[in-house]
Symmetry: C2
Subunit: 157 residues, 2 copies
Amino acid sequence: MNALARLGMVSESPSENQTMTTVAATAVSSEPAKDYFVERDGQKFAGMHLLIDLWGAKNLDSPALIDETLCAGALASGATILHSHFHHFSPNGGVSGVVVLAESHISIHTWPERDFAALDVFMCGACDPYKVVPFLQAAFGPSTIDIDEQRRGLLKP
Amino acid sequence: MNALARLGMVSESPSENQTMTTVAATAVSSEPAKDYFVERDGQKFAGMHLLIDLWGAKNLDSPALIDETLCAGALASGATILHSHFHHFSPNGGVSGVVVLAESHISIHTWPERDFAALDVFMCGACDPYKVVPFLQAAFGPSTIDIDEQRRGLLKP
């Protein structure tokens, strides 16, 4: 089964979009391999992954608003948008979707009948995933936001 | 900005694909609102979300193999595939992508230069996200798999 052809799409040729940490200039002819892991607070890891739960939220049945909100948040975080896809369900009006970034992704799944949405915001490189949060507050007006931060690919000291 | 038109796609009309818990038959004319949260082990929540880190893994630079593996795992879990999208990066060969499901999503981001991949498998309804794991083991042969299970949208008793 080749779902690339059947359901979606795949980039045919590699791009240079992957965010990278700064590589020191070198005068020798054989450059060191690039290292795409990031360093922060003395830790080295692949990327920051926020699991965000919205409770008491509104406007969770609008794919257009959700798309606009997540893309605006992604750009504010410093990310590059590669692709987005949203699906609208019946009868509850729930929305599932994802924004694929050069620096990972943002996903959302909504349950309007419970005023609940589950998001994850995964970003590597210099992007700040917390900059998505004010856009969620403005668009969905949740009474409560729970945020769980994971550092994916954390290297052991 | 309308990224729906610019970058991706959105389902124009709601579908009936959302997985639902069983709703008891009723003889009254006004049916109760459907409840898409699931119950397991005495807990009620929106869905199971696994954060999976692969270390010492191979074949992380092949979007076709990754797509095939994630779609096979999704089907084995009992999920319905709506859409998939993968992107291939240069120069490291890393792959980013997602499979959007009627029951949420699977995402992957790979760092072949470190033999590392970060996945998340989010499934609601009766699907079992752990059934994806054997497909990851077979395709990528990791020396270590770290799995963190989150129950998203867990209702307080």
